[in-house]
């Protein structure tokens, strides 16, 4: 019970101090709006075209929503030694890191609402399988949060983590089938796509929204869950090694 008080306080503190700050909220709205708007104009309000880019837009919004603030916040807190306060508290490390990443996950999911709402307005989403979209968005948010957590732990400066994040995020936009199928990539790049977690998340979203997919949904979910576990374990290992070592 006492540990949960600490857990919720960390989540609430991060939401207050970082995620719900007006510039962050406006960025969280503006970024997906700009991207979705751009694709909407490009598609010429063709419903099918919009449906085809919507999975990519959702994934992109979640990816940038989760990774932008968390990496900076963690690096900043570590540099200012505010993170030491958390490490010195009696909350177990696993729970501490779950609390620390929850804000980013929630914010990433909130970002996904923008393209979804625009999709409702401009496209026909009646055939969408929401029971697949919601868990897929959650898992994409979790996996990209843990990826950015790992990058934050490996970096020492805020500018380092921003560079590292972009180094990972931007290739993912092209390699994960966000706006064109992975199968359309040159053959030598395709294995690389399947090494990236977002590919599996986008595949579920394509299946749920368009009914088109490369892999069975169960395999996509299993791969995403596996990536979540792997990245979280690596993050814990890195904290133990680099920060408490």
């Amino acid at each position: 019970m006492k540990t949960w008080i600490a857990f919720w306080s960390i989540v609430r503190k991060d939401m207050k101090a970082y995620y719900l700050k007006p510039p962050n909220v406006s960025w969280g709205l503006l970024f997906p709006l700009a991207w979705t708007g751009m694709f909407l104009i490009r598609s010429g309000q063709d419903t099918h075209s919009l449906q085809s880019v919507l999975p990519g837009m959702i994934a992109l919004s979640v990816l940038f929503g989760t990774s932008s603030m968390l990496a900076v916040a963690v690096t900043f807190e570590k540099k200012a030694r505010a993170f030491d306060r958390l490490l010195l508290s009696p909350i177990p490390l696993v729970l501490l890191m779950l609390a620390k990443t929850s804000g980013a996950i929630l914010f990433g999911m909130f970002n996904a609402l923008v393209p979804v709402l625009l999709g409702f307005w401009f496209a026909d989403l009646s055939g969408t399988d929401w029971s697949m979209v919601v868990p897929a968005v959650l898992l994409i948010a979790v996996v990209s949060t843990y990826l950015s957590l790992l990058l934050a732990i490996l970096a020492t400066e805020v500018f380092e983590v921003q560079t590292l994040s972009n180094f990972v995020r931007f290739p993912m936009i092209f390699l994960c089938g966000l706006f064109f199928p992975v199968t359309a990539l040159p053959w030598f790049l395709q294995p690389l796509s399947f090494m990236l977690p977002l590919t599996y998340g986008v595949d579920i979203l394509h299946a749920a929204i368009q009914g088109e997919q490369i892999l069975p949904a169960a395999l996509d979910f299993a791969a995403l869950a596996g990536f979540c576990l792997l990245l979280f374990s690596l993050s814990l290992h890195s904290i133990n090694r680099h920060w408490i070592g």
Binding site: M1, K2, T3, I5, A6, W8, S9, I10, K13, K16, A17, Y18, A80, R81, A82, D84, R85, L86, L87, L88, S89, P90, I91, P92, I244, G245
Partner: protein
């Protein structure tokens, strides 16, 4: 807490090729105010990090309140409050919210947190700034709030790393009074400081650490014994001292002369010293005296003798870090 508040045996820590701590033993009794003194790079912060669970020792064991830290570090962390050498609270949160958050990390309930935060803000003279963001606090206010945050959960053991470094006189005095108050209430305090006078005034026992090894641990009383009732006179000279020390000792029997630096003469005696006759003696022989400072020998002199490190240079090193 059962057993001593802190018991550390054979603590070692290396960072690559550098030996930060080379096998030290520390035992601090319950209710004791223990000083940990040493120059920069001596291993103070590394030792404190190991004792508080922020770093793992390469070898050795640590018990906090009878709890083996290698087996149950989180239970041990429940017993401690830590004030790091940096004011590391959250700049975006107000003073009140920072305290409440600190309490929440230790599982305090909302009402208890609010009540305790209000009490501490009152005690630390920060009521007027309670709703102001931490980033807007002065250095002294920040240090006070950091200490308040460390005692939110009423820990029986408090670690403080340089609590009065780089802050105004009033805040320093207030912090010293607060530490004395906590000590009287039975809180065990582990204090690292560069202000030797502060350690002499506050601490029951002191350990001197140099190059990763504890060179002496004793009560302040015992440490002071060799210099008790001893007086010193430091004479700064322009162009050095051309007079042999032997000649000075013949002219002033009972005084011990030492050349601390080429242009600094140190005189020690068991009697209060009179500077005038010595200054006249030197000037009559063509030595230009810039300044003569009299003082009673203190823990600073003991520290210099034991570690071979000038207390002044230690302080300068530290202040340099703050600029």
């Amino acid at each position: 807490m059962t057993g001593p508040a802190i018991r550390a045996r054979g603590l070692k820590k290396r960072f690559g090729e550098v030996r930060a701590v080379g096998g030290i033993d520390i035992e601090v009794s319950k209710g004791e105010l223990f000083g940990f003194l040493g120059p920069n790079g001596a291993g103070k912060t590394t030792t404190m990090s190991m004792l508080t669970g922020l770093s793992r020792p390469d070898a050795g064991s640590i018990e906090i309140g009878g709890i083996d830290c290698s087996r149950n570090p989180k239970a041990a962390q429940h017993l401690i409050g830590v004030v790091s050498d940096e004011s590391n609270l959250y700049p975006e949160l107000s003073g009140f919210d920072n305290l409440c958050f600190s309490g929440a990390l230790y599982g305090m309930r909302r009402q208890d947190r609010s009540r305790k935060a209000s009490e501490l803000l009152e005690l630390f003279g920060l009521v007027d700034a309670s709703s102001r963001k931490f980033s807007g606090y002065s250095k002294g206010m920040k240090r006070r709030l950091v200490i308040a945050a460390a005692i939110m959960h009423s820990p029986p053991l408090l670690f403080l790393d340089e609590p009065t470094s780089g802050i105004d006189v009033e805040s320093s005095r207030m912090i010293r009074q607060l530490l004395t108050g906590l000590h009287r209430q039975g809180v065990t305090i582990f204090l690292t400081t560069h202000f030797i006078g502060e350690a002499e005034r506050l601490c029951d026992r002191i350990a001197f650490i140099a190059s990763g090894r504890i060179v002496r641990t004793d009560t302040v009383e015992r440490l002071l014994q060799p210099v008790q009732g001893r007086y010193a006179l430091t004479v700064s000279l322009s162009g050095g001292c051309p007079i042999p020390l032997g000649e000075l000792e013949v002219a002033f029997p009972g005084l011990d002369f030492q050349l601390q630096a080429p242009d600094e003469l140190r005189v020690e005696s068991g009697e209060p010293l009179k500077a005038g006759s010595l200054v006249r003696f030197l000037e009559d022989r063509g030595v230009e005296v810039i300044e003569a400072r009299k003082r009673v020998l203190s823990l600073e002199d003991v520290f210099v003798e034991i570690t071979g490190i000038g207390a002044g240079s230690m302080l300068k090193e530290k202040e340099g870090r703050w600029r």
